[in-house]
C-alpha cells in the first residue's frame, strides 16, 4: 500500500514537472493602456507554440517604478521570472549584467542574423564587455512635446522652439487665463521633464558628457539647467504629484493645459485608448531646444541565469526580435521597431515621423528610462529632485547630484 502511494505521488510530481516545462512567465510593467501591445506579442507566441502556457506577470506602475522592486526581490530570492522587461542601457548592464545575473545572448544574435538588423549604437547599449545581453523590442522617443492643435489655434500660439520661447509662450497663455500652460504628473514625469530641459539647455554634446563623466553636475552649465527647470515648473500645475502621466495628457486634450512633455507612449495612449488621429486630435514637436536630437529609450527582454524554461524563453526572445513580432507590437504600443527593416506602412503618422527622425537625428539616451545611468543613480536622482523642489536651490541640487554620481561611479 505504501509503495503504491509513493508511486502515485511520484507520478503526480512527474506530471507536474512536465506541465511546468510547458510554461513561460513574462514579467513586465505593461498593463492597462500598454497591455494590448504585449497581448499582441503573446498571442503571436501562442499561435507559434500552442502547447506553452504563457503567464503574463505584470506589475503596474509607469516606467516600471513598482515592477523593478518586485523583480529585485524575486531575483535575490532565487526565483527569477523566465524573461523580464528591462530598459536597454545602464538599467540592464549597470544593474543585472555587472552582477552576473544574465545569460550572454550573442549566440542568439548571430544565429538569427540580428547583428546587421539592429543599429550598431543600440547593440552597443545592450552590450557589456563585448557580449550582448538582451533583445530590444522597441524604440521610444523621450523628448516630445504634445499639444492640442485646435486649442493652440484658439489661443493663437505656436509650439515654442526653445525653452526661452517656451517661457514667453507660457506668460502669454497665463495672460489668457490658463492657470497651468504645462501639464505635469507624478514624480518620475517631473524627472522626465528635467531631462528634456537639460538636453535643450545643454545641447547634445554636453548632455552626453554628463553621463560619461566629462561634465560634472556642479558645473555652472548644469546649475543653469536647474534654474531654467525651476522657471518651467512655474508654468506647471500645482497638483502634479497626484497625477499619472495619462491624467497629465488628458489635461492637454481637454484644454486645461497647453503642453505636456512625455515620451511617445503618449501617442499610443492617444491613438489606441482615446481614438484620436495623429496631427488632428493631437500634435507634437520636439521638446523645446531639442530639434534634431532623438532622446531614446528602448524596452528589451533578457534571459536571467537559472530559469526553469530556458528553451521557451529562447523562443520568446526569437519572436521579440523578429520582424513579425516587432511589427505586431509597436504600432499598438506607440513606439517604433528597434529593427531597421520594419514596415513603415503599418505605423501611423506620428510613428512614421519618429522613424524618419530615428534615422536622421543625433541619438542620445534617456536618464529616467534607464539608458544612460545605472539604477542606483536614477533612483537617488529622485532625492535630488526633492532637494530642488523643497528649497528651489539650484546649486544645492547640483552638488547633491554630483555627490551621488561620485558615489555610484557614474561614467566609470
Amino acid at each position: 500500500m505504501r509503495k503504491f502511494l509513493l508511486a502515485l505521488v511520484a507520478a503526480a510530481l512527474g506530471s507536474l514537472a512536465v506541465a511546468q516545462s510547458g510554461r513561460l512567465e513574462i514579467f513586465s510593467w505593461w498593463a492597462g493602456d500598454e497591455g494590448p501591445a504585449l497581448q499582441a506579442l503573446i498571442d503571436l507566441y501562442k499561435k507559434r507554440y500552442p502547447n506553452v502556457e504563457v503567464i503574463n506577470a505584470t506589475v503596474t506602475g509607469g516606467s516600471g517604478v513598482n515592477a523593478r522592486a518586485v523583480l529585485k526581490t524575486r531575483m535575490l530570492g532565487g526565483d527569477p521570472p523566465d524573461s523580464f522587461q528591462v530598459h536597454a542601457g545602464q538599467e540592464l548592464t549597470g544593474t543585472w549584467v555587472v552582477a552576473d545575473r544574465m545569460e550572454d545572448l550573442t549566440p542568439l544574435f548571430n544565429q538569427e542574423g540580428w547583428m546587421n538588423r539592429f543599429p550598431k549604437g543600440l547593440i552597443d547599449l545592450i552590450s557589456y564587455k563585448g557580449k550582448i545581453y538582451s533583445v530590444p523590442v522597441n524604440i521610444h522617443r523621450s523628448n516630445v512635446m504634445w499639444y492640442n492643435p485646435a486649442k493652440l489655434r484658439e489661443w493663437g500660439v505656436q509650439p515654442p522652439k526653445t525653452w526661452a520661447e517656451f517661457l514667453t509662450t507660457c506668460q502669454t497663455l497665463k495672460g489668457k487665463g490658463l492657470e497651468a500652460p504645462l501639464a505635469l504628473g507624478e514624480n518620475w514625469t517631473q524627472q522626465h521633464l528635467w531631462e528634456s530641459v537639460a538636453l535643450g539647455v545643454l545641447g547634445a554634446n554636453d548632455y552626453t558628457n554628463l553621463w560619461n563623466g566629462k561634465l560634472r553636475f556642479n558645473d555652472p552649465k548644469v546649475v543653469a539647467v536647474w534654474n531654467t527647470f525651476g522657471r518651467v515648473l512655474d508654468c506647471a500645475n500645482k497638483d502634479a504629484s497626484g497625477l499619472s502621466w495619462q491624467q497629465a495628457v488628458d489635461r492637454v486634450l481637454d484644454g486645461t493645459s497647453a503642453f505636456n512633455i512625455m515620451g511617445d507612449w503618449a501617442a499610443g495612449y492617444m491613438t489606441t485608448t482615446k481614438g484620436l488621429k495623429p496631427g488632428e486630435g493631437f500634435g507634437w514637436a520636439p521638446a523645446p531646444g531639442t530639434a534634431g536630437v532623438f532622446m531614446m529609450l528602448s524596452d528589451s527582454f533578457g534571459l536571467p541565469k537559472g530559469v526553469k524554461n530556458r528553451a521557451n524563453v529562447l523562443n520568446w526572445l526569437r519572436l521579440v526580435g523578429s520582424k513579425e513580432g516587432q511589427d505586431a507590437f509597436n504600432p499598438l504600443k506607440g513606439s517604433i521597431a528597434a529593427r531597421t527593416d520594419s514596415d513603415p506602412s503599418k505605423y501611423n503618422a506620428y510613428l512614421q515621423s519618429a522613424m524618419r527622425d530615428w534615422r536622421n537625428n543625433r541619438i542620445v539616451g534617456s536618464l529616467v528610462h534607464g539608458a544612460v545611468a545605472p539604477e542606483s543613480f536614477m533612483s537617488q536622482f529622485g532625492t535630488v529632485m526633492e532637494i530642488y523642489l523643497s528649497g528651489r536651490n539650484a546649486q544645492a541640487a547640483s552638488n547633491a547630484a554630483q555627490a551621488i554620481a561620485t558615489q555610484v561611479r557614474l561614467g566609470q
Binding site: 529585485k72 518620475w188 497638483d239 502634479a240 504629484s241 533612483s379 532625492t383 526633492e386 555610484v408
Partner: protein, 374 residues
C-alpha cells in the same frame, strides 16, 4: 532541573517551544542579520549590489553617520521630522475624537449600539483600502474640495496631498539644543513631582541632571552642529490629508477603549461626587479623566507604534515617490529596492526599530513590573 519534575511546566514549555524557535529565527535572528547588514557597504558598488555572491565589507556605523549628517540624505532627516509630526497629530486626533465619541455614547443615546458599530467599522478596513478611498476624496479637483459648493460657497482649493508648503521650520542643526531643552523640561517636571510626594533624593537627582543638561545645552550644545550649513525641516501641510485618513480609521478603536473604561467606572463614584456638589465638568476633570489615564497610555502606545511604522496608508494615498508625505518606512523601501542601497536601507530599518522600541519597551517594562507586583 526542578521545573522538569512538574509535568505541567514541561508540557507548557513544549507547547510554546515551536513558536519560541520560530520567533528566535524569524524575528530576532533577522533583526541581528539586518543590524549586521546595516554595518556593511552592501550596495555601494553597483556590481556587487545584486550579484549572487556579493562581496560585502564591514564599515561600521558609516551608514548611520551619513543618514544623520550626510549631504545627500536630507530626505531621511525630513522623514524623521515628518514622522514626529504625524505621530503627534495622529495620536492627539485619535485620543480626542475617540474620547469625545465615547463620552457621547456613554450617555446612552438612542441607537447606541448602531452608532458604536458605525464608529468602530473603519478599523475593520485595511490601511490600503482607507488610503484608496481617501485619495479619491482628497483629489484636488473633487471630493472634499467640492463640499462647499453644496451650500453655495466657492469650491476649496486646498492641495490635500500635493501641497509643498512647510510650516514650523526648524534647522536640523538646532535639534541637539532643542532636544536638550525638552528633556530638561521633563526632568524638571519629574523633580517637582518627586518633591511634592516627598521623595527628596529622586527630586535632587532629577533636578541636578536637568541643570547639567541645561548647562551643556547653552554652552557646548549650541556649538554641536551635525551639518556645516542650515537645513530647515518642518511640518509638511500635505500630511494633513494623511492624518485625516489615519484618524478616521483609528479613532473608533480609541472610542471602544474609552467606552469600556467609562463603563468600568462604578456609578457610585459619580453619585458620590454629585452628592458632594461636584459640577458635571468637575466630575469629569477630577474623577473620570484620572481613572481613564491608564487607558490613554495603552492607546498611545498602540497608536504610537502604528504611526512610526506606517507605510501602506501613505503608499496608497500619495504613492511612494511623493516626498512631502514621505516617512522612513517608505524611504527604506525606495533605498533598498530601487536604489539598491541595501545596507543603507537596513540602517533605516534599524533606526525605525529603535524608534518603535523606544515607545514599546518602557511600556512592556512597566506592565511586567506591575504584573510581578500583583
Amino acid at each position: 532541573m526542578n521545573w522538569l519534575k512538574n509535568k505541567d511546566t514541561l508540557y507548557g514549555f513544549l507547547v510554546i517551544l515551536p513558536s519560541l524557535v520560530l520567533l528566535g529565527i524569524f524575528v530576532y535572528g533577522f533583526i541581528l542579520q539586518t543590524f549586521y547588514t546595516s554595518l556593511t557597504d552592501w550596495g555601494r558598488d553597483p556590481a556587487q549590489a545584486l550579484s549572487a555572491n556579493p562581496q560585502i565589507r564591514f564599515i561600521g556605523f558609516e551608514n548611520y553617520r551619513e543618514l544623520f549628517t550626510g549631504f545627500v540624505d536630507a530626505r531621511f532627516r525630513q522623514d524623521l521630522v515628518n514622522t514626529f509630526f504625524f505621530t503627534l497629530f495622529f495620536i492627539l486626533g485619535c485620543l480626542g475624537v475617540g474620547l469625545g465619541l465615547a463620552i457621547v455614547l456613554d450617555r446612552s443615546p438612542k441607537g447606541e449600539g448602531f452608532f458604536r458599530t458605525i464608529f468602530l467599522f473603519p478599523m475593520s478596513l485595511s490601511f490600503i483600502v482607507t488610503g484608496t478611498i481617501w485619495r479619491w476624496m482628497l483629489q484636488p479637483q473633487g471630493g472634499v474640495n467640492q463640499l462647499p459648493t453644496l451650500v453655495g460657497l466657492p469650491k476649496g482649493d486646498f492641495a490635500w496631498l500635493t501641497s509643498r508648503e512647510q510650516i514650523w521650520q526648524v534647522s536640523w542643526n538646532d535639534l541637539p539644543f532643542l532636544t536638550a531643552l525638552v528633556v530638561s523640561a521633563v526632568l524638571v517636571f519629574i523633580a517637582l513631582g518627586a518633591f511634592r510626594s516627598g521623595e527628596r533624593r529622586r527630586g535632587f537627582i532629577a533636578s541636578g541632571s536637568a541643570a547639567l543638561l541645561l548647562l551643556w545645552a547653552f554652552t557646548l550644545g549650541r556649538t554641536l552642529q551635525p551639518l556645516p550649513y542650515d537645513e530647515p525641516h518642518g511640518f509638511n501641510l500635505a500630511f494633513i490629508g494623511i492624518i485625516l485618513a489615519a484618524v478616521w480609521q483609528m479613532s473608533g478603536y480609541t472610542m471602544a477603549l474609552y467606552l469600556a473604561g467609562l463603563r468600568g467606572i462604578p456609578e457610585e463614584l459619580r453619585e458620590a461626587a454629585r452628592v458632594d456638589g461636584a459640577s458635571e465638568w468637575q466630575l469629569y476633570q477630577r474623577i473620570i479623566f484620572p481613572l481613564l489615564a491608564p487607558i490613554t497610555l495603552s492607546a498611545m502606545i498602540i497608536l504610537g507604534h502604528i504611526s512610526l511604522k506606517i507605510f501602506d496608508l501613505i503608499f496608497a494615498m500619495a504613492g511612494a515617490d511623493n516626498a512631502p508625505t514621505d516617512v522612513p518606512a517608505l524611504l527604506m523601501y525606495l533605498t533598498t529596492f530601487r536604489a539598491n542601497q541595501i545596507a543603507k536601507g537596513a540602517a533605516i530599518g534599524m533606526i525605525l526599530l529603535l524608534l518603535v522600541a523606544a515607545v514599546i519597551v518602557p511600556y512592556l517594562y512597566s506592565q511586567l513590573k506591575s504584573e510581578v507586583r500583583r
